[in-house]
Symmetry: C2
Subunit: 227 residues, 2 copies
DNA sequence: AAACGTAATTATGAATTCATAATTCAGTCA
DNA sequence: TGACTGAATTATGAATTCATAATTACGTTT
């Protein structure tokens, strides 16, 4: 019996990092907005010290920007940043695909098959919410399956940063069909344990996804500019 | 004329992050060692608040480990971590190579040629220190040349984490010759602006380098175990 | 009324203080 | 002697305080 396990009591600032990051990622705080130290302190019931510690961490992760003597602002997600982030995520997914082929165990593969099926059903029903959930589950399981903490950690951070841009509405019928097709191919490569092939496909899948997003962004800003 | 440029006065904790990270990377604090808050405070002439803020950031970057109510320890570089980090660096360098081919300007290319030549000369003279410097310059310039801040930032962090392991002594004659050969090939691909080719080569170059390091590590620990 | 300058207010970075958890060190008993 | 107990000490996390920079509010001048 292992008695060394301590009671899981995360320190205050760690919890705050989580909650603040969520606030930023889930749009509780809008980009460019000033982070209201005082209000957050009382709403969380903590003093400024741990909150500010958390802000320093968030800043190093790129979610907020610190200005000397002017506090923190929620970082804007610029188009430039998106265009820089996407290819990095893509190569990380490529690596994840390669490693997952080698390291996935049977249980994990079964789970992925299950979520993949759920994703297909969601597509048939044109249920965007379920689709996105299942899709994210598949990708996450592939990353996990790579069994590489460093890879997982960096991927998670980058993914969180782009998740702030709400892409769900951007999914066109054509792109959706294409994405489904790509996922089918990925599953085939995975079942065959073709690591190079899966890696290539995942990278391509990501690049296609991102290209679609950028295109949608452009169309959007074009609209806005025209108005 | 741009008058919006502010006087570069970095905040205390930012400076501390730099200095502490350096201390860890450059081995001023040994892995596993407890981080002596008090001494560092007086040696830097600051109070605990900014120092602890810096430690939180270092922890999120993986250089130190925080234990609740037991302060910070310098993170150990485990073999597992090295084996996980290497492939991630490798794919980032691959991407950097691809992007650098597309985005390098003439000045940057000239600088790389210069440092590449210096590297060759250092090899002829078997001058390890100069070789490592020139080699690092080349790689850094290639990363910079990719013109992708996200890529650069993540690469820098990962590179710092493995730099803590002192590999210089591990360079065998065979591996050295091979590395030089790989660099020549890389330069040829770069001159031809063959982005896919350079990417492939850089990834391979990294994987070979890392394989050699792991081998050396094994030999070393084998020795130690035998003694 | 608009623009400027100055005082009041607020927000921020950093030092200090405080409560508590961890560690050290005696002293006790087997 | 050596393991255990419990008080003394130290270290740590978090709250509070403090000095100063930034912002706002208010008069003054034109």
């Amino acid at each position: 019996m292992n008695l060394t396990q301590t009671i899981k009591r995360p320190t205050l600032h760690e919890e705050l990092v989580e909650r603040l990051r969520n606030l930023v990622v889930e749009d509780g705080l809008k980009p460019g907005e000033k982070v209201p130290e005082k209000e957050l302190c009382e709403s969380f019931g903590v003093s400024r010290t741990p909150l500010r510690e958390a802000l320093k961490v968030l800043a190093s992760e790129g979610f907020v920007v610190l200005q000397a003597n002017r506090g923190a602002r929620v970082a804007e997600v610029t188009r430039q940043e998106l265009e820089n982030t996407f290819p990095v995520i893509a190569v990380l997914e490529q690596l994840a695909g390669e490693l997952a082929c080698q390291n996935l165990d049977a249980d994990e593969l079964a789970w992925i098959e299950k979520r993949h099926s759920a994703m297909l059903r969601a597509y048939q029903a044109r249920d965007r919410t379920s689709y996105f959930q299942a899709n994210q589950d598949v990708h996450q399981a592939l990353i996990r399956g790579a069994k590489n903490d460093i890879l997982e950690g960096h991927h998670k951070l980058l993914a969180a940063r782009v998740r702030r841009v709400r892409f769900m509405a951007n999914l066109s019928d054509e792109r959706w069909a294409q994405a489904i097709d790509e996922h089918e191919n990925m599953m085939n490569r995975l079942r065959a344990r073709d690591s190079g092939g899966l890696g290539q496909l995942m990278k391509l899948h990501m690049m296609n996804k991102f290209a679609a997003h950028i295109q949608a962004l452009d169309a959007q800003s074009g609209d806005t500019a025209a108005t």
